[in-house]
Amino acid sequence: MRAPILFAVLLTTVAAPGLAQEPPSRPACAVTDDSSIPPELSGWKTRSPLAAAGTAGDVAKAALPIGQGVDATLKALADVAFPVLPAKPGGSVSYGGLYLLKIAQAGDYQVSLGTGAWIEVVRDKTLVESKAHGPGPACSSLKKTVVFPLKAGTYVLEITGNGEPTLALLVHRKG
């Protein structure tokens, strides 16, 4: 366009939070540095292993502690039966699994991930639409965050499309 333009009406891009988890590009980091991870995510730095379930029937054995990070041990996708099919399926060579979320107090809950894996939160066979997403602190091991508004109750966290069989994972209540 050749004409000079001063465009006062700025058109913003349309956000669809429930379908918008893809992470942006970041400059490559020579060293991983978690010092910039905020204090409310302190559970990220002290993680314990926790195996994912493959079916909804087994998910009670995989309850995620709120505020405490885990090193999720995922399953080959062929061994996972999702209660609700993820909006973005992982490949057959990727990993995934199911975790139980017991929410005692309604609020916004942030799921923090060490990769760009795709996640869904499901209740009664219905996906909960996320309300925000973003990257983790630059050069940290935290790569992706997704925030879901949750009421008190029980949910299933679905994970798919992780490139490795393990995944750093933390769910905490915001605010």
């Binding site: 000079p4 009406v9 399926p89």
Partner: protein
């Protein structure tokens, strides 16, 4: 002006007609010609169905984390919401993801490579390429074939898409199928399109005024034709970073910092904008063009805003024929 636009559409239709397979139902509105189709990759419903499945299959990436649809999201006009998108290994993306509306009509296809002329050939850039690594399958052709061949439904879909070919699953056939699916990503039902087809009320008075502004200010000198791109490379924005544009491929100094004119179809959905996604809004993108700075009266800007919004085709971004399939070979998908 309306007659001029109609004439341009007819000219485009005339130029493009004749190459499509006559038996394929493109589901086009009257008067719109289908995109050209290579003689060695005729369209068929079976091939499009296969290509659609492949488009959404993350097994096309080395670790199963990225599909074509990871970066080309339907609700964004098959563009992506970040400035650039990292590849499977976290390598930063280099250029903004372009939308795919009417991509079958466009050539060259990408921001800065005049040689990217067919969708079949372009398939290898994200899947097999390494500058930068996107899906990371370079040297993994056999692995890709193994993954797809392991699925009995895929074997049947390849056989149906390429009848008479006994070679089975190949990367080249996967590329052809994805290209065929992409050619069906047709967007001709924006309010602007309906206006061109004679629905005078499809464009609001502000949008009509915006169309006049768009023409009067010379925007169509580059954002030309039914898809609002002349398919040519222009240096319109200040250089930034290491990306030198088309000159990297042509070695012609005249191509320095030149990038292909972006289509404006569904522009309100396809941000951020410009080749590196530096512009978060259309306004920033316009201001980012060389020479921008002191142009429009406030009324003209509001009108132009309305016109650009009229290029959004909601039926395109909601069309289930373009969405992630729910069933393969008659059975519900399992992952």
């Amino acid at each position: 002006m309306k007659r001029a636009l109609a004439a341009a559409a007819l000219l485009a239709a005339a130029l493009l007609s004749g190459a499509a397979a006559p038996t394929f139902d493109w589901k086009l509105p009257p008067g719109v010609a289908p995109p050209p189709v290579p003689a060695d990759n005729p369209m068929s419903e079976a091939k499009v169905e296969l290509g659609r499945r492949l488009f959404y299959d993350a097994d096309l990436s080395v670790d199963g984390t990225l599909s074509c649809a990871s970066c080309h999201e339907q609700h964004r006009g098959f563009a992506e919401g970040n400035a650039t998108r990292p590849g499977v290994h976290g390598t930063p993306g280099r250029r903004n993801v372009m939308g795919l509306a009417n991509v079958g009509y466009l050539t060259p296809l990408t921001w800065a490579d005049p040689g990217q002329a067919t969708l079949e050939a372009q398939f290898s850039t994200p899947v097999l390429g390494d500058t930068p690594i996107e899906m990371g399958m370079k040297g993994q052709d056999a692995e890709l074939v193994r993954r797809l061949s392991a699925d009995a439904c895929y074997r049947r879909m390849f056989a149906a898409a390429f009848p008479g070919d006994r070679e089975g699953v190949t990367v080249a056939k996967a590329a052809k199928a994805v290209a065929a699916f992409q050619r069906t990503l047709l967007s001709w039902d924006a309010p602007y399109d309906r206006y061109r087809r004679g629905e005078g009320a499809a464009l609001s008075p502000p949008a009509l005024a915006g169309l006049a502004v768009f023409e009067a200010k010379g925007c169509p000198s580059c954002h030309a034709g039914p898809n609002f791109t002349d398919g040519r490379f222009h240096a319109v924005a200040a250089p930034a970073g290491q990306d030198r544009g088309a000159v990297e491929k042509t070695a012609n100094p005249a191509d320095a910092n030149s990038f292909r004119t972006a289509s404006l179809r569904n522009a309100a959905l396809t941000g951020p904008y410009l080749h590196d996604g530096r512009a978060l809004t259309l306004g920033e993108a316009i201001v980012g063009h060389w020479g921008a700075g002191d142009g429009f009266a406030s009324g003209e800007l509001a009108a132009l805003d309305a016109f650009l919004a009229s290029l959004t085709d909601t039926s395109f971004v909601r069309n289930r024929r373009f969405a992630l399939p729910k069933r393969f070979c008659g059975a519900p998908r399992r992952r």
